[in-house]
């Protein structure tokens, strides 16, 4: 939009700059994905002494072992194997899971919405509480809220997430009975809800099953609060430091000198500038929650990617583990790049030149 508003010469230069940035971004996407595939290839085919055994397990019949060996092309040189691996992975072919005997990609597709629903709910909570908390902490340095942000941050960086989840279950499920136990939905509703998007909240709402919707929400609240806490710890700390930087800038002094109200200075002037790096921090914290969900899902029997990966790990199902790693890694990379992109879109200064 801003491109067309500019005078001809400058807009041309800007377009060129944007194209340059886009091509640089494209190169970095390709290289990073190539790196991800190279590392998973290395893990899957080079590290194990016998990759076939690592994939099919040591109780597999001889013909399965032989077939897998041929499918993997283990008789070919390593670089050829890698090319095959990449070609398959790009098509979404990660092999078959030993545990579920489905194609890995199919398992991953059905597990992804559960993880995303949880991570998005966590980020929503973390942002909704963390940003105002960080702003108040920055405005009132040394106040109780400031101390609170510090403590929340320290605890967030120090506490094992799976332990906090377990203790949360003990307190809120076993002792107080405020929340239902592990799982995503009560058995009573499990077969009444038809799977459309895979996002349970959305599915139940679309089908108008409000009882089930409430039940899903009740199941979601504890794991989402847990992830939300870690997201809040990070976001509030970053908000505080961004706001402190902005509030010490000269334009704030100028606004004060002009007699602009403090409320307006904080929420309109400073926050809008702090928002730019903040958006990238929120994207990064969502990426962090994808990772945090591995342990959280294990605790709450949440049928997402994390639980899928850990279950596969415990059954030495390497295809599934690597497929899951690639999917989580891809989302992680995508979010990282998105945060870079958002930064350059939101902050005109990085676009200049």
């Amino acid at each position: 939009m801003s491109l067309t508003a500019n005078a001809g010469g400058r807009s041309g230069a800007r377009l060129k700059g944007f194209g340059k940035a886009a091509s640089r971004l494209l190169i970095s996407i390709v290289l990073t994905y190539a790196g991800l595939l190279a590392v998973t290839f290395f893990i899957g085919r080079v590290v194990p002494i016998d990759p076939v055994l690592a994939i099919v397990g040591d109780r597999a019949p001889a013909n399965v072992v032989e077939r897998t060996r041929q499918e993997l092309g283990l008789d070919k040189p390593l670089y050829e194997q890698f090319v095959m691996y990449v070609a398959k992975a790009v098509k979404g072919d990660f092999g078959t899971s030993v545990l579920t005997s489905n194609p890995v990609i199919q398992d991953l597709k059905s597990a992804t919405p559960a993880t995303l629903e949880l991570a998005l709910a966590g980020t929503l909570l973390g942002t909704g509480i963390g940003v105002p908390l960080g702003i108040i902490a920055a405005v009132r340095r040394g106040s109780l809220v400031d101390q609170l942000v510090r403590v929340v941050g320290l605890v967030g960086y120090s506490v094992p997430i799976f332990w906090l989840g377990l203790m949360g279950l003990v307190l809120f499920y076993a002792r107080l009975g405020w929340v239902p136990g592990p799982g995503r939905i009560d058995i009573a509703y499990e077969f009444t809800v038809e799977r459309q998007t895979g996002f349970m909240l959305l599915d139940t709402a679309l089908q108008g099953q409000w009882d089930a919707f409430v039940d899903v929400l009740r199941h979601l609240i504890l794991p989402a609060a847990l992830l939300g806490y870690f997201s809040m710890a990070y976001i509030s700390r970053m908000t505080r430091s961004f706001m402190l930087t902005e509030l010490s800038r000269e334009y704030v002094v100028a606004a004060r000198a002009k007699g602009v109200g403090e409320f307006r200075i904080i929420w309109r002037h400073a926050l809008r500038n702090a928002l730019v790096p903040l958006v990238t921090v929120i994207a990064l914290s969502l990426a962090g929650l994808l990772e945090g969900s591995v342990l959280t899902e294990t605790i709450f029997s949440w049928p997402g990617l994390g639980l899928y990966i850990t279950n596969s790990l415990q059954n030495a199902d390497l295809n599934a583990v690597l497929g899951g790693t690639i999917v989580v890694g891809s989302m992680f990379i995508a979010l990282n790049l998105l945060s870079d992109l958002l930064y350059s879109i939101l902050d005109p200064r990085t676009r200049a030149r």
């Binding site: 590392v39 094992p160 499920y173 850990t310």
Partner: protein, 308 residues
């Protein structure tokens, strides 16, 4: 020992340390160390962190004397199983009738070992990558930093999981997997420091005297990168402990019956709704130790990093 002409020995050791005109290298170094220490010591929370870690070290060294029971041999399964905390068993007993307190005391050795091993594997790798990239520049820099960036954009825990899945579970493999995933930030820091140092006059002087690039990097660049690296490693220790505990919890780190804290939580998970103490105590231990590392790291950053 000191030439008297310029700097008569001051009456107290404090004055000697804080003098504006140190007469020897040793005095200058000690004086700087003392100044750093006073800055560090003024941060009470950092001192608390340091105290906890010293305590942890003592507990690990004297585990045999402190722990009342064996960490691996259980008690009578009919009478000593899953007992709540009491005077005899401060943190209760687990499902094998083992004293949880004793297991935690011995587990401190594993925690320290993991942290130490990861640090001495990952930090030198990152340091070398970063200083070489920064000093060499050009395509070497571009290649090394591209690799670093690729590793940085991976989810650490998931990658470590995949590594352990391929290598097989075990504490050594967990250490290796964590080290493989944690060197990139060190490379970034070391490179940034090297870029700042590279064009300074003293490096130009050493170059003129004919020092080889290897010597310049190892003797002149690396020492100057150390302090920021140490801060970063200390701050990362908490993350390393948490990752190691997570791997242990998933059954991929230390194997039973070894008293690794994460694995102990996994043990206690089965009874957590009724016998919460089995999982609560080791988790609290992990929390306290990583908190101590975080406090210490924050303090070190404030004390050593004078640039702010």
């Amino acid at each position: 020992m000191m030439p008297e002409a310029y700097n008569p020995p001051a009456p107290g050791w404090r004055e000697w340390l804080l003098t504006e005109r140190p007469a020897s290298r040793r005095q200058a170094r000690l004086g700087r160390a003392y100044a750093s220490w006073t800055r560090f010591a003024s941060n009470r929370l950092a001192l608390v962190g340091l105290a906890i870690l010293v305590l942890l070290l003592l507990v690990a060294v004297f585990a045999g004397l402190i722990a009342p029971d064996s960490p691996v041999v259980g008690g009578d399964l009919r009478t000593a199983r899953l007992l709540p905390p009491s005077a005899a068993h401060v943190f209760g007993t687990d499902d094998q009738g083992r004293d949880i307190f004793s297991r935690i005391v011995f587990g401190s050795r594993l925690t320290l070992m993991i942290v130490f091993l990861v640090a001495i594997i990952a930090a030198p790798v990152g340091l070398l990558m970063g200083t070489v990239a920064g000093y060499a520049g050009g395509w070497v820099d571009a290649t090394l930093m591209r690799i670093t960036d690729i590793f940085l954009s991976f989810p650490k825990l998931v990658l470590a999981l995949a590594f352990v899945a391929a290598l097989g579970p075990g504490i050594e493999n967990a250490v290796l997997a964590i080290a493989i995933t944690s060197w990139p930030p060190y490379a970034r820091i070391a490179r940034a420091e090297t870029l700042a140092i590279r064009n300074s006059d003293f490096i130009a002087a050493v170059q003129l005297m004919g020092a080889s690039p290897v010597r310049i990097v190892l003797r002149h660049v690396v020492p100057l990168c150390l302090s920021s690296l140490i801060i970063r490693v200390t701050l990362d220790m908490a993350g390393i402990i948490l990752t190691a505990a997570g791997l242990g919890f998933l059954g991929l780190g230390a194997q039973p019956p070894s008293p690794e804290w994460g694995a102990m939580i996994a043990d206690g998970r089965r009874f957590v709704l009724d016998q919460w103490w089995v999982a609560a105590a080791p988790g609290a231990a992990i929390f306290i130790v990583s908190l101590a590392f975080n406090l210490l790291g924050d303090g070190l950053r404030d004390a050593l990093d004078t640039r702010g």
